[in-house]
């Protein structure tokens, strides 16, 4: 690991104590959730449930796995992290602030006029944002091309694509899944956030995507399914897929909407969650309690 490359260099994996890694990720996940709550409060509503749910996944990736230079988001050797689900921008801004890519103070501009942090992620607005996701089913296709290109150029960088279980509705996702497999792109890691909820309701009722793991395996992927709110399980899964060769890998992460904040985790699940003004401080307090417990 070079001084200017992030903590997440793969070559540290074997030398840093596993417990230390997990504790560092837990702290980062707390920071991501706190950042997300602060941003949610600016808007009064939003994709806060998803952000809390995916925070452990993003903390694992940004703290422990991804190679990047916070001060140089265009470093050619960086691993690419694609946010296919543009509406998860709140979660990624929270993670990028925690990782030092964007200043924490900037988070209060989230979704405001002239902000670099729009509600839906856009590459042209935000340092470190690789693509403009949001029209769902695009990220994995772009990842396919990046991975083919990096391989052609002899660049060992990896490509991560975060997609959602709802995004598995899109046929283009499966075009790309077939393509990554056909081309043997073992430099691709797909991450599927399975929170079992999409815009019109539970995924099982909108368009059934299960059995998700079987589908990816049938498409030729090395597929692991883990509890996406279990940091130890995430570390083991990401360590394993990084070593895997010959086919692309997918880490299917079952996450819980609102995880880490019981007030929000226990209320009726909603794609776009409304939070009362007085509830934000309660949420922060509950988050703090969870960290110290």
């Amino acid at each position: 690991m070079t001084a200017s490359t992030s903590s997440a260099a793969p070559d540290t994996a074997g030398t840093v104590d596993r417990e230390e890694r997990i504790e560092r990720i837990r702290q980062a996940a707390y920071g991501i959730r706190r950042n997300a709550l602060d941003m949610g409060e600016v808007q009064g509503q939003g994709y806060i449930g998803q952000a809390l749910g995916v925070a452990d996944v993003l903390a694992t990736v940004y703290t422990d796995q991804l190679r990047f230079r916070p001060e140089d988001p265009h470093w050619p050797g960086r691993d690419r992290f694609l946010l296919s689900i543009g509406h998860y921008a709140i979660a990624l801004y929270a993670a990028m602030a925690e990782a030092g890519i964007i200043p924490v103070e900037e988070l209060e501009t989230y979704g405001s006029d002239d902000s670099r942090l729009p509600m839906s992620a856009m590459a042209s607005y935000t340092p470190g944002m690789e693509i403009s996701g949001g029209s769902l089913g695009h990220g994995l296709g772009v990842a396919t091309g990046m991975a083919l290109g990096l391989r052609l150029q002899g660049n060992p960088a990896r490509v991560y694509d975060l997609l959602s279980d709802g995004e598995l509705d899109e046929g283009s996702t499966w075009e790309a899944a077939m393509s990554c497999s056909h081309h043997g792109l073992d430099n691709v890691t797909a991450i599927v956030d399975v929170n079992a909820l999409q815009a019109d309701g539970p995924t099982a009722g909108v368009l059934r995507t299960e059995p998700v793991t079987d589908k990816w395996r049938a498409f030729g992927w090395h597929a692991l399914r883990v509890d996406g709110n279990d940091v130890a399980a995430l570390v083991d899964a990401f360590d394993e897929v990084r070593e895997h060769r010959g086919s692309p890998s997918v880490v299917i992460c079952d996450t819980r909407i609102g995880h880490g904040v019981p007030l929000l985790a226990n209320r009726e699940k909603a794609h776009f969650m409304r939070v009362e003004e007085r509830e934000w401080q309660i949420a922060r307090d509950q988050l703090q309690e969870g960290l110290t417990r």
């Binding site: 296709g141 772009v142 396919t144 091309g145 990046m146 290109g149 150029q153 283009s172 075009e175």
Partner: protein, 352 residues
């Protein structure tokens, strides 16, 4: 068709039937060879196709540079997304399929993955307009209309092999995304007889004339030149302004051409909706120029299947039809403007 007498009909022939006239000079696969020449100079050039390399002249590149060609299968969405990803890491992709699939099926990917970030991806669409007799599934009669509204996108409709050979390096040199309406196979070679060089964004006056000015794009420039030569024999003096770049449009050249009392006719291998005719008409209207525009274009309808010469005649793109249309306009200058005739669906198409 009321006659019951049997008569020999032309057949649809291959999907990719050449539109070259019998005996016309042609060049084989100009796009593929131009891409090869470019690739030898620029190592970052890569090619992709969606199971149509052989039918878009991309096979020429594939065979010469197998390591830089990517077969993406019959999956146009991932082809364009992947082309964007390749451009993101510094490659310069040319991605080929049929125009109908690049535009109708994969538009969201062309728009958001390629055009919005302004990536240097060059989308190559074969069978533009009416260049196949296979019917609406393969006839990209509205590709320009779909794409003209896409910000950042440069759109080129070449006339012949000369245009294609010169456009390929120009498109790669342009920093942003482009769409090329590909003519493939045995492509007519026409423009080498004129003092012409393809210049991105520029129209070119191929011949001057006092009576009529034909503003044309794509393969219709070839027809415009043929029509002009035929009308010359009837002492009608016809100018031809070739407009290979549809967007950004060379509005200065068009306004110069229109600010005369000549009959102004546009010619395009595309529906009359949203292509060259409306581009020229809006250019004139926005500039306060009141010149009437006579559009020679495909009608606003799904076209028939059949043999290409039959269809070009029927829908007004053949040289005969162009000459007849211009003469009619010259003869009946007071006639009210009518859009191209909407032909009724043929109850007995050529393939029946």
């Amino acid at each position: 068709m009321t006659s019951t007498a049997p008569r020999k009909k032309l057949t649809t022939s291959a999907m990719i039937a050449s539109f070259a006239d019998p005996g016309q000079r042609t060049t084989s696969a100009p796009f593929g060879h131009a891409l090869n020449r470019l690739a030898e100079e620029r190592p970052e050039i890569v090619g992709l196709s969606a199971d149509l390399a052989k039918y878009t002249d991309m096979h020429v590149f594939r065979d010469a540079h197998p390591d830089r060609f990517f077969q993406m299968g019959m999956a146009e969405q991932v082809m364009l997304g992947a082309a964007a990803g390749m451009a993101e890491v510094g490659l310069v992709p040319f991605a080929s399929t049929y125009s109908v699939f690049a535009t109708r099926r994969a538009y969201d990917f062309l728009c958001l993955d390629i055009a919005e970030p302004g990536l240097n991806v060059n989308v190559v669409g074969a069978l533009p307009g009416l260049t196949t007799g296979y019917g609406p599934s393969h006839q990209a009669t509205e590709d320009l209309a779909i794409l003209r509204g896409c910000p950042n996108l440069t759109i080129v409709d070449p006339c012949d092999s000369v245009d294609i050979e010169q456009a390929v390096p120009a498109l790669a040199a342009a920093p942003g995304p482009t769409y090329l309406r590909l003519l493939r196979g045995a492509v007519p070679t026409v423009l080498d007889e004129y003092d012409y060089r393809f210049e991105l964004g520029k129209a070119a006056e191929l011949r001057t004339g006092r009576d009529v000015v034909l503003v044309s794009t794509g393969l219709m420039t070839m027809r415009a030149l043929q029509a002009a030569a035929r009308l010359e024999a009837d002492s009608v003096d016809v100018a031809v302004l070739h407009v290979p770049t549809i967007k950004p449009l060379d509005t200065e050249a068009i306004l110069r051409a229109a600010r005369t009392d000549r009959l102004l006719v546009t010619l395009e291998n595309h529906t009359v909706i949203g292509g060259l005719a409306e581009s020229v008409a809006s250019t004139l209207a926005y500039a306060g120029v009141g010149t009437r525009v006579v559009p020679i274009a495909l009608p606003d309808e799904f076209l028939a299947a059949g043999a290409l010469p039959t269809l070009h005649d029927r829908y007004g793109l053949s040289t005969d039809a162009v000459v007849a249309r211009i003469k009619a306009e010259l003869d009946g200058a007071d006639a009210p403007h009518r859009p191209p005739t909407a032909w009724p669906a043929d109850p007995a198409p050529a393939t029946a």
